[in-house]
């Protein structure tokens, strides 16, 4: 502890971390507060310069690392993300909303004016875009943390890698590999339970199959997802078109591969 403090005292300054919120539920940024055992280490490694969920302190930019949660759903946020990018050396999007548009992307391609009229007593107060889009559709993104919510281990590994000048370890292969490494029994092969693991990106630690449930794809499409082959198998397991659409089009409904697989 003492040597670490001494080194920090000698250091010119700690990297500045900012946490930004767009259209989202806050769950992903709370993953940072949820780090509990590692929270002190995070607070020592970085300066929390802007993180309204944690502190009212606001330090001016530029920021070394910006974590961006949420999707772009309003004209105001469309402008704000440009400012965030300009102030950020490294911009990391966190969570399904920021990386694919989130569950609110279900409105894409549908009549948002009609939704507002049904839901709100005074729809004229609502100033919203017709679509919910990921951050990468608006600005350059350095790294993406998938998931609804993100995985705390991936968040810490990403921060550690960025602080030490390395590429964050964020593999884009299937959930299945994590499932097999963990020694879980395949819910699809052994139980006949529909599972999106073979087309979904790893990173969650195969949480759902580890509880004998099918993966519902909250980490979004993996690299080269063969949804057509999986959909054919889901149909063979007895899943109808409506159920298949609901399975693919949830938290990552805006991700192209899952949108197409649901619409097919």
């Amino acid at each position: 502890m003492n040597t670490r403090s001494a080194r920090n005292a000698q250091a010119p300054r700690r990297p500045r971390l900012a946490v930004w919120k767009f259209a989202s539920c806050d769950g992903c940024q709370l993953s940072l507060l949820d780090c509990e055992d590692e929270l002190l280490a995070v607070a020592e490694a970085v300066e929390l310069a802007y993180f309204p969920e944690a502190t009212s302190t606001v330090l001016p930019g530029p920021y070394d690392i910006s974590l961006v949660e949420g999707s772009i759903t309003t004209p105001h946020d469309r402008e704000r993300i440009q400012q965030v990018r300009r102030q950020s050396k490294r911009l990391v999007t966190i969570g399904a909303c920021a990386t694919s548009g989130g569950i609110q992307a279900l409105r894409n391609g549908r009549d948002v004016t009609e939704f507002a009229r049904i839901v709100y007593a005074r729809p004229e107060y609502i100033d919203t875009l017709a679509t919910s889009t990921p951050i990468a559709a608006h600005v350059r993104v350095d790294h993406e943390l998938r998931g609804c919510p993100i995985d705390k281990g991936q968040l810490l590994a990403t921060l550690a890698a960025l602080l030490h000048g390395r590429r964050p370890p964020l593999p884009s292969h299937s959930v299945c590999e994590a499932c097999k490494r963990a020694g879980h029994v395949c819910v699809m092969v052994a139980h006949g339970t529909p599972c999106l693991g073979p087309v979904t990106q790893t990173g969650c630690g195969a949480l759902c199959p580890g509880c004998a449930r099918g993966c519902y794809g909250c980490f979004g499409p993996k690299e080269t997802p063969n949804t057509a082959a999986l959909s054919a198998h889901l149909a063979a397991l007895g899943m109808d078109d409506a159920a298949r659409r609901r399975l693919y089009q949830t938290f990552n409904a805006g991700a192209e591969a899952f949108r197409k697989a649901g619409d097919a």
Binding site: P169, C186, T224, N226
Partner: protein, 361 residues
């Protein structure tokens, strides 16, 4: 050869525990037979079977008897104990201007209970692969192997084609053949090493007689005669090498999820990724090796891009390596006929069917 009763089997477990071994064996979990620590013979999947395996399908069923080894192989192989899914190669700590390495821990002494002939062959394949790997070699040297000869075959088994089973032919400390009929329940035990012979001598039981040996032979022959799959290896490596541009690769790719399950469950697949992890303060770091798959894009990433970007190229890499190029690399086939890649492929792609289709085309 000795004939052990159920009490004799329990005595074997107790003797191994007494020698300090952690026993690892098949057990029932989440509707499958998986490997894990156990202490008593009763913890084995007594009266269960898994022989009704098919492409992308695995279901357990009750047996009419109380057989302790009346099944074939589950999703896991002994690979996860000898070449673990994730292994810390070293840990380092900052000390002054340099760093210090944590001393390596001694390998666990484990007794593998119920190793089938196909998996015994797979261990011997990985022995060649990891010949210069100190961690693997230490774990291997610390392992005591109790093989079990198969007396039934599974729907995706083809060890007979691969000439690896169903009888264990060396590489074990003890080998058991279970005889489970209305008349008797016994295990014919054979020693395969000095350590195995010493242990067997100390176990209660009588010398196996001619009837025991004949019954064991018949039971193994029954398994050999009921293989669920078949692979014609004659000239197969050459045929595959001559068909690298065959349209069938693309046809498989249309079904293949490139999820990597086949490579994870394969008892010989050995690809790994090595990753350095550092603590937030940079005071400690570890180098971790974990299972990788040739179905991952990054596996073939070199300067300029991915060498095997298409699913067809990745499936071709896996199958031709397994059945053709493995011979050049290690002097044996990479396939032991365990059938796991068929059963645990979510969409049931069948290595024996694809190899046959390629050869025919």
């Amino acid at each position: 050869m000795k004939r052990l009763t159920l009490d004799g089997l329990e005595a074997l477990f107790a003797a191994l525990r007494g020698q300090g071994f952690e026993l690892i064996g098949p057990q029932l979990r989440d509707a499958a037979l998986v490997l894990g620590p156990l202490e008593h013979a009763a913890e084995l999947p007594v009266g269960w079977t898994d022989t009704a395996q098919d492409g992308g399908r695995y279901r357990l069923a009750r047996r009419p008897d109380r057989a302790h080894f009346g099944y074939v192989v589950g999703p896991q192989s002994w690979k996860r104990y000898l070449f673990p899914p994730e292994e810390v190669l070293f840990r380092a700590r900052r000390s002054g201007e340099g760093f210090a390495l944590d001393p390596a821990e001694p390998p666990p002494r484990r007794a593998f209970i119920g190793v089938r002939a196909c998996d015994l062959a797979a261990i011997q394949v990985q022995d060649r692969i990891f010949v210069h790997d100190p961690g693997y070699q230490a774990r291997r040297a610390a392992a005591f192997i109790v093989a079990v000869n198969c007396t039934e075959a599974g729907g995706t088994c083809f060890c007979v084609s691969q000439d690896t089973g169903p009888q264990a032919r060396g590489g074990f400390d003890l080998a058991l053949t279970e005889l489970c009929t209305d008349a008797r329940h016994a295990f014919v035990a054979e020693a395969g090493s000095a350590a195995g012979a010493a242990l067997l001598d100390a176990l209660p039981g009588e010398a196996a007689d001619a009837a025991d040996l004949a019954a064991a032979r018949d039971a193994i022959a029954h398994a050999a005669a009921h293989m669920g799959r078949r692979l014609d290896n004659a000239g197969l490596a050459e045929a595959l090498r001559a068909r690298l541009e065959h349209p069938h690769w693309q046809q498989v790719a249309e079904r293949c999820l490139s999820c990597g399950n086949c490579t994870m469950v394969c008892p010989t697949c050995f690809c790994a990724n090595v990753e350095d992890r550092a603590s937030l303060d940079g005071d400690s770091a570890e180098r971790v090796r974990s299972w990788d798959s040739c179905f991952n894009l990054e596996h073939s990433y070199i300067v300029g891009g991915n060498v095997r970007s298409s699913g067809a190229a990745r499936y071709r890499q896996w199958l031709t390596h397994k059945l053709a190029h493995w011979h050049d690399q290690f002097g044996v086939s990479g396939c032991t006929g365990c059938g796991r890649c068929i059963t645990w492929c979510p969409v049931g792609i069948d290595i024996t069917a694809e190899a046959a289709a390629l050869r025919a085309g």
